[in-house]
Every structure is written in C-alpha cells, then in structure tokens.
C-alpha cells in the first residue's frame, strides 16, 4: 500500500497497527452501553413514556453485544489464543479487564432480557406445538409460572439488574475509553477525559440507534410511532449530545490553550490529516446540524406535525450515528497518523475494501447484529401495538 509520509517517523511507526476494526469495536460497544441505558431509564427511573422502546432497547443491547467481540477477534494476530485473556489475564493491563467485564455484562443483559421476556416466553410455550414448543419451553427453563407472585419477583429482579447494569454499562464503555486515555505514549489519547468522552458518545449513539430502529421497526410492523416515546428520546439525545460535544470540544480547547508540546502535533493533525473527519464530520455535519435539528424538536415539538418530528429526529439520529463513528475513527486512526517521534505524519489512511481488516469486513461485522435483532424479533417480538 502506498503511503505518503512527511517529516521523520520512527521506522516502526509507518504501520497502522490498530486498523478499522479497532474503530468498530468501541463503536459497537458504545451502542450496547447506550441502548442499555435507555432501557434502564424506563426500568429504574420510571420514565414510563419510554415503555414502547424499553424491550427493544434491551434486545438491541443483547444483539450488539456478541458483535462487539468480532472486530477484536478479526484484528488479533492470533485469534486462536484469544482465550488467554481470561486464562492468564495480566491485571496490570487495562485490556485484561475485557474478558471479565464483557462476560459479567453479558450475563447481566441475558438475565435481564430473560426476566423481561419471561411472560412472553411462557405464553409462546403454551401456545405453540412441536419443536417450537420445545424451544420456548427450554427458554422458559421448564417453569411456566406466570402468577402475579412470580411476575412480582421478576419485576424486582429486573429493577435490580437494570440498576446494576447502569454502572456496568458505564464501566464497560468507560473502560474502552480508558484503554486509550491511559496510554502516556500517545498525546492524542492520553487524557483522563477520554473515558468520559467515550461514555457520553456511547449514550448518544445508543439513543440514536434506538430511534432509528424504533422508527424502522414500527414501519415494518405497521405500528404507529409513539409520540411521547420519540419526544422523550429526542430530549435525552439532545442532552447527551450536548454533553458529549462539549467534552470533545473542551479537550481540544484545553490542549490548544495550554500550548503544550503535543499541540504542535495535534494542531497539525486536526487541521490537516483529520480536517474532514474531525472538523467537517465530527463537529459540523455530525455535531452542529443534529444539534439544531434536535433543538427544533425539543423546543417546538408540541406544535409539530408527527411526521415532521419523526423525520427530524430520525435525520438527527442518523447524523449522530455518523458523528460517533467519526469520533471513534478520529481517536483510533488519528492517534496513529503521527509518529511518536513527534516529527512525522502519514498523510492518509484508507482501509482497503477487501483486506482482512478492511471495509467489507467492517460492514459484515456491522450487519451481523441487525440480523441477530431480526431473528430476536421473530422469536420474541419487542414492539407491540398494546404498549400504549
């Protein structure tokens, strides 16, 4: 691959060792954490207006979770050794926490999904016949008790798990930010703000993804999009995107204002290598425009036609999904566009279409959770007319 280099790079620094896959990993994990937080808003904080998306949020979290592993596995030089991360975890490494955090979170989400959908599972088990019946019966673990007392127990567990899930989701994603933020070798990554920025942008991407999924889901199922749910999600999205963007800008402002040694490199990076992906995409197209769109929805939503509100929210969400993706790109790839010699840059990085860690692989990995979700919807419907 032809790469244009300027200045002096350490000879080992001319390779981008963290590829597009490592962009995808925090992106997908962020969607998991963000979607979960929406479901917890309903289950823990009693935001009843979010009831129509509560189950979808959980299902989304569950389906994106296994997909978060795929880019990592595809990236590893020796995926067959991947289990070493839980077999011989080196606890001085931030990355060693991955296996444990990920498994704990996985268990938590599976449990919560099970409790939430148990009544449905039991109903489906009793309604169906043959193989189908066996499948649902297995899912129900053979217990068909849906008495009020049993459901009360379920609700209690749901609440506890949802509450536990909030710090867990924060940990899971804050940890991803920590992976970058705690590397002193890289001035573009090394900031304590990194986990916080990752966390807020995760919530942004999660809410945005839910808005998109909810609207598409409703269209497919012929359900009317719930006004309250959309308005509420738009407000939350607006709040979180403001916080997220503020943090992202603050980080740059501080670096720039301090005029510390690293600004020479980072200033150049932002105005040259990352000028399109940072300034145009992350800040303007993905930041400013959805900010305005959502502000319209939030301030004038009451007098707005449903269709307009839905379209505005949907467009803002799509743009924010792009914003968060570009933010991940700018962090991961941006941090490798300069050499640790602080004297040299690579001018561009364009992942190949067909290479092992290239664009097609990334697209395939990203499509996977949607397939899972479609399957989930077939097995256990999340969107119902009766929800309001």
């Amino acid at each position: 691959m032809f790469t244009e280099l300027t200045g002096y790079l350490f000879p080992n620094d001319v390779h981008i060792s963290w590829s597009l896959m490592i962009v995808m990993y925090p992106y997908i994990t962020g969607l998991v954490a963000g979607a979960f937080i929406v479901s917890s808003l309903y289950h823990v904080f009693n935001r009843d207006e979010l009831k129509p998306v509560g189950r979808l949020a959980l299902a989304t979290s569950l389906c994106f979770l296994p997909a978060a592993m795929l880019p990592l596995l595809n990236h590893l030089g020796h995926p067959e050794n991947a289990l070493n991360i839980i077999v011989t975890p080196n606890f001085t490494s931030a990355m060693a926490g991955f296996g444990f955090l990920f498994s704990a979170y996985f268990i938590l989400v599976v449990l919560e999904v099970w409790f939430v959908f148990r009544a449905d599972i039991v109903r489906l088990a009793t309604e169906s016949r043959g193989l189908k019946q066996r499948f649902y019966s297995l899912l129900a673990l053979g217990v068909y008790d849906v008495s009020e007392a049993a459901l009360a127990i379920d609700r209690r567990f749901i609440r506890v798990l949802a509450a536990l899930g909030i710090p867990m989701a924060c940990l899971l994603h804050g940890y991803v930010g920590f992976l970058f933020g705690a590397l002193k070798a890289n001035p573009w990554w090394s900031t304590p703000l990194m986990p916080v920025i990752f966390l807020f942008s995760a919530v942004v991407s999660g809410i945005a993804m839910l808005i998109v999924l909810y609207q598409i889901g409703c269209r497919f199922k012929g359900i009317e999009v719930d006004r309250e749910a959309i308005s509420s999600m738009a407000r939350w999205l607006w709040l979180f995107m403001i916080m997220s963007l503020t943090l992202e800008i603050l980080e740059i402002m501080t670096l720039s204002y301090e005029r510390a040694e690293e600004w020479e490199v980072i200033g150049h990076l932002l105005t040259h290598q990352l000028s399109i992906s940072f300034i145009s995409v992350q800040m303007v197209i993905g930041g400013l425009i959805p900010f305005i769109l959502l502000m319209l929805v939030v301030t004038m939503g009451g007098v707005m036609h449903d269709k307009i509100r839905n379209t505005l929210t949907l467009s803002a969400s799509l743009l924010l999904l792009l914003q968060v993706l570009s933010m991940r790109w700018n962090v991961v790839i941006g941090g490798q566009m300069f050499s640790k010699s602080m004297r040299g840059f690579r001018e561009t990085y364009v992942p190949g279409l067909y290479e092992k860690e290239g664009v097609l692989a990334a697209v395939a990995i990203f499509v996977f959770p949607f397939l899972l979700l479609t399957f989930f919807e077939k097995v256990l419907p999340t969107l119902k007319k009766s929800d309001r």
Partner: protein
C-alpha cells in the same frame, strides 16, 4: 563458552582514564578476554552456541550504553540485528537516526531504511551546523509501559532486566506497540505477534554480547552488567554525564546515552 565468569577481570584499572582512552582500553581488554575464552576449545565456539547451564539470572542486571559521539552511522548494527534475529524487512529492532541542525537549531531528521544500509550525503536542511547519528533500540525500561499493558502476560521483564515477548502466548493485539513511546515494538508480519529487541537474550545469557554491540566498529554501543562491580559500564554511568530518552515519561529506560542532544526523543 566455558569461561563466562571472567566478564571483565582486570578492567578495574581503566577507572580514572578519560572516556575515549577508557573505551579504547575496554575494547582491547574485551578482545583479550574473548580470545582467552577460546583457549582450550577444539573448535572455536560455533554459531549455535550451547546453552550455558551455569548462568544465574539473579546475579546479573543488564544495561546498555550508547555513545552518540562515536557513532559513524554505518548501519552494521542494524544489519547484524536483522541477520541474528530474523527481523522481517520493514520492521526494526534497532535503527539509526541522523540529526542535522542549522544555525537556527531547526532539526532535519532522517533514517532511510532504518539506516540499515548506511547514509548518503544529502543537501536538505540548509546550512548544517551540528549533526550526529543516534542509534535506537528498545530501552528495556525498568518501569516499562509495554509489559504493563499486555493483557495476557505474554510480555515480561526477566530477572536480569530484559524485556521479552513470548510469541507462543502473544495474541497479537498490538496494545504494547501503542504503549511504547519509543517506537521500539512492532507486529511481526510473519509471526503476527509483537516483536522487539531482546538484547540478544540467547547471546547475552550464554556468555556473548548482543550482535549489535559485537559488530559495532567504533564501540558506540556497549552492554554491561550492573551487578558486576568490575564491569566498566558502571564506572561510566557513575561518573559520566548520561541521559535517557524521554525521561519525562518516567519509564526508567535502561539504555543510557552519552552526548545526547535535546532534539532527540
């Protein structure tokens, strides 16, 4: 190697000499020692030296010293390293940088192919007032950020102070590559694992020096043992003005430099 213990008997009388003569002295002494080691052997120690079972790693702690004023930028060390360690092309366990500064102090730095095939004359950089070569390699930091971040314990520091990678256990995640501030690590394109300078651990622990130290024609690179009070490297570290790369990161590099310019990081 049967006579490994005589590392530097009799080097002690070098103390107090000026550095240059001292280094010269050191070279002669080690040559004598080296030839002494071979007396009594039927064949000179071949390439594949046997593993020395008497080596006790708790009784050594290796450190490295580079004299940037002596380096001539011939690239012998980088070539020897590649040949000794099967380093794939495009990756470098050691390399040589050339710094050329004009009167304003602006630095022009280059390292064509890691300096492996030496350097050509270049005009770039304008009116050069100060110029020098700086050999680089893994610093084998005492507080190293690379082994800290290895998620599976595939990279570690030996008791004698060498940072190694277990390529059987490495998962190839590349976190250590990102964590090294010196660009000393890379993902080996053949093994798909992290790779780096080992200070020729297979030589060092079997009575030899690293390939780069052995091959250097001007003594710009030396390796020595902190645990051996007679090792001349201790006298240099104790009495000379020395520096390490990027000390502000507090990685405690065990590669010391003498004659280092502030432009080098």
């Amino acid at each position: 190697m049967q006579d490994k213990k005589n590392g530097c008997d009799g080097c002690g009388d070098g103390l107090g000499l000026t550095r240059r003569t001292f280094l010269k002295h050191l070279t002669t002494v080690s040559a004598v020692v080296a030839s002494g080691a071979v007396i009594g052997l039927i064949l000179p120690e071949g390439a594949a030296g046997a593993v020395d079972s008497t080596y006790d790693w708790t009784r050594h702690r290796w450190v490295y010293l580079i004299d940037t004023r002596a380096c001539i930028g011939c690239g012998s060390c980088a070539r020897a390293c590649r040949a000794e360690n099967d380093v794939p092309e495009g990756n470098y366990r050691t390399w040589i940088e050339r710094y050329r500064m004009n009167a304003e102090g602006e630095a022009h730095v280059d390292s064509p192919q890691g300096g492996e095939f030496g350097f050509e004359r270049i005009k770039a950089g304008g009116d050069v007032r100060k110029a020098f070569f700086v050999p680089k390699l893994c610093n084998h930091c005492a507080a190293t950020p690379c082994t800290q971040v290895c998620p599976v314990g595939a990279s570690y520091t030996t008791r004698d102070g060498v940072v190694l990678v277990d390529k059987e256990h490495c998962i190839g995640c590349g976190y250590c590559v990102q964590a090294c501030p010196y660009g000393s690590r890379f993902i080996n394109e053949e093994t798909h694992t992290a790779d780096k300078c080992t200070w020729c651990y297979h030589r060092l622990t079997n009575g030899r020096k690293t390939a780069c130290v052995d091959i250097c024609p001007v003594g710009a690179r030396i390796i020595g043992d902190r645990e051996n009070p007679d090792d001349p490297i201790n006298e240099i570290i104790a009495t000379q003005r020395i520096h390490v790369l990027q000390p502000e990161l507090l990685t405690k590099p065990q590669c010391y430099y003498s004659g280092l310019d502030m432009e080098v990081r």
